[in-house]
């Protein structure tokens, strides 16, 4: 069944790296200010992360929003769990919870 395959694919994709970022464009060529900013934050914080360009795959782009009940990009995952978008990351940094969230 098509749906099951996509879901399996997404379940695997969010775990592809311990910290996984779904963004518009790539770290070197971001296509959105929010995506660029979150990449900058991760790099500043010295976090190793994998990325996926959601502009390159419409199926993942739409599917992931439903999969995680999160309507926008970028989306950051740690150990396969959604941390949130740029705004959540900024808040977590402010409250000092960011590293802890990444470690799950």
């Amino acid at each position: 069944v098509e749906g099951a395959t996509l879901e399996e694919r997404l379940a695997a994709l969010v775990k592809r790296s311990p910290v996984m970022l779904f963004m518009k464009g790539t770290p070197n060529t971001p296509k959105c200010g929010f995506s660029r900013t979150i990449v900058g934050i991760l790099q500043e914080q010295g976090v190793e992360f994998g990325t996926f360009d959601i502009l390159s795959d419409e199926e993942v782009r739409q599917g992931l929003k439903k999969f995680s009940n999160w309507p926008t990009y970028p989306q950051l995952y740690a150990k396969g769990e959604l941390i949130g978008g740029l705004d959540v990351v900024k808040e977590l940094l402010e409250t000092g919870e960011f590293k802890a969230e990444l470690e799950g």
């Binding site: 296509k31 502009l55 009940n69 926008t72 705004d87 900024k90 808040e91 919870e97």
Partner: protein, 167 residues
């Protein structure tokens, strides 16, 4: 008092709400259960305000006020910062300060706001493509001094985005 950084006109509405604590308590229980969400500013300076009841801006204001009874609410239409036509209502930032966020995880606070506005999202037939969210409890808001950063600048993403290409 909000200190505003960046371009655009802030529409600030300070809502002094009388909060009914027993209503809050039961609402908090409802909010903290994970439901399944189906998915999904100030007007540009000089632009016509239009009929705010019909516009996305007005709709967002009404929904957030009704749902969160915020002690502080800011809505900024940031569409002018992006590669979209003039007078668009595609990119918004909302700042919601409410006691309803007390004890709720940040990611869940943002989900609540997104869920409140889900009909306005482009994927669900609305006009909103990007939604920047800031949520705080009144205590956190006081402590932060009411500072709100402007959102990141556009990198022309909308130009590459099939969602924006009308046939």
């Amino acid at each position: 008092m909000a200190s505003v950084v960046g371009r655009g006109l802030w529409q600030t509405r300070s809502v002094r709400a009388t909060i009914n604590t027993s209503l809050l308590a039961s609402t908090r229980r409802a909010f903290t259960s994970t439901g399944s969400f189906s998915f999904g500013a100030a007007k540009a300076a000089g632009g016509a305000r239009g009929n705010s009841a019909m516009s996305t801006f007005g709709d967002i204001e009404r929904k957030l006020t009704d749902r969160f009874q915020p002690t502080h609410l800011q809505i900024l239409n940031e569409s002018h910062m992006h590669s979209v036509p003039k007078n668009s209502e595609t990119h918004f930032k909302v700042v919601v300060v409410s006691d309803l966020f007390d004890g709720v995880r940040i990611v869940q606070q943002h989900r609540l706001v997104q869920d409140c506005l889900k009909e306005n999202l482009m994927a669900n037939g609305g006009t909103v493509h990007a939604l920047s969210v800031m949520t705080k409890t009144p205590k956190q808001w006081e402590a932060s001094g009411g500072a709100v950063e402007s959102s990141p600048g556009c990198l022309g993403g909308s130009k590459h985005d099939p969602q924006f290409q009308k046939s």
